[in-house]
């Protein structure tokens, strides 16, 4: 399986999880599948890595969880809180700025 560059990925899992959970209530396995689907397999998180991120976001008040019994199995479902949505907005703005900066830099290097 292809591995991503961990230092460059710093902050990306939070952003993706908050984006997914801003309008849906999902459990870990579903989250990883949706991340893959939403990024066209460009970003594949180490699947177990999603849980410490979820727990840290919950501890920060950005997510809330509840247990649900589905097909005889108890699953922990996560969803974004109001605080999580505002964190998503600031993270998104931050990543857009970085993205624009990289685009600009690349364009200048090509024209130079």
């Amino acid at each position: 399986m292809e591995r991503n560059n961990p230092p460059f990925m710093s902050g990306v899992p939070e952003l993706l999880l908050l984006r997914l959970l801003a309008d849906d209530e999902l459990y870990g396995y579903e989250i990883v599948r949706k991340v893959r689907g939403a990024t066209g397999d460009a970003i594949s998180l180490g699947e177990g890595v999603v849980y410490p991120v979820l727990h840290a976001l919950e501890a920060a008040g950005a997510l809330r969880s509840r247990r649900r019994l589905v097909n005889g199995r108890e699953r922990v479902y996560y969803t974004a809180t109001k605080k999580g949505r505002s964190r998503l907005a600031s993270l998104s703005a931050h990543w857009r700025r970085i993205n624009d900066g990289i685009h600009l830099a690349l364009a200048e290097m090509i024209h130079a």
């Binding site: 396995y29 699947e47 177990g48 890595v49 849980y51 410490p52 727990h55 840290a56 501890a59 199995r73």
Partner: protein, 239 residues
């Protein structure tokens, strides 16, 4: 990942200071995720061995999972951040409060009142173990120090804390528990009043210090012995 891998990961996380509630939940979620990955691979036509291998690979190996979780300081327990507070300050504060509560209870029951016989009729003869003062004395001498020292060991075992902290906590709890005492001094003669006598032999002239040391040693051995034995068993099972 096999069950032994999950157990080993659980132990590594607890030793790393992750709060037990986060550890329990993380392990349960990882186990559940592994089951889903296995089912997905098996449904695609993989053999049991291949499905198991793929599920384990996608979930991540023991070391990388442990490293990712341990890299999150917000998941660390307060006992890991401030062990001196948990194993040294808390038992001392609890001892002071319980000691004061027992003293208050004894005072409120009327111990030390000039009318010894009516007190004995109501609460039992104070010299006997089967009386309110007797039960309080037994709890103060044996129960309270054992509870405090045992509590240190229980917390340390649950959180896989380095043994130096519970050892310090147990010794401290045993010394405090053995060295601070109170008794009822009954009045002698007419119009006299009794008193609740509070004493310690931690300071000069150290009267009865040998008994206190033996008492503290007995409490320490009674709690640290089973804890260290259990800890050795856990370490052996995982190695």
């Amino acid at each position: 990942m096999h069950e032994s891998d999950f157990n080993s990961l659980k132990d590594a996380l607890l030793r790393g200071g992750v709060a037990p509630r986060h550890v329990r939940r993380t392990i349960a979620e990882l186990r559940d995720h592994h089951t889903d990955l296995f089912a997905e691979a098996f449904a695609r036509g993989c053999s049991v061995e291949n499905a198991e291998r793929e599920a384990s690979m996608r979930l991540g190996d023991h070391d990388s999972l442990a490293a990712q979780i341990l890299a999150r300081p917000e998941l660390r327990s307060w006992a890991h951040r401030w062990p001196w507070l948990v194993y040294c300050v808390t038992p001392t504060v609890v001892f002071i409060f319980v000691f004061a509560a027992l003293l208050l209870l004894l005072g409120r029951s009327g111990a030390g009142h000039p009318d010894y016989s009516s007190y004995a009729n109501r609460w039992g003869s104070p010299e006997s173990l089967w009386s309110l003062p007797g039960a309080i004395r037994l709890f103060r001498v044996v129960g309270l120090p054992l509870l405090l020292a045992g509590g240190c060991c229980f917390l340390a075992g649950r959180r896989r804390t380095a043994p130096r902290w519970p050892i310090v906590g147990v010794i401290l709890a045993s010394i405090i528990g053995a060295a601070f005492q109170f008794d009822v001094c009954w009045p002698y003669g007419a119009n006299a009043h009794g008193a609740l006598c509070l004493r310690t032999n931690l300071f000069p002239p150290f009267i009865g210090i040998t008994g206190t040391i033996l008492h503290a040693a007995a409490i320490s051995v009674a709690t640290l012995g089973p804890y260290l034995w259990w800890r050795r068993g856990v370490t052996r099972a995982l190695s």
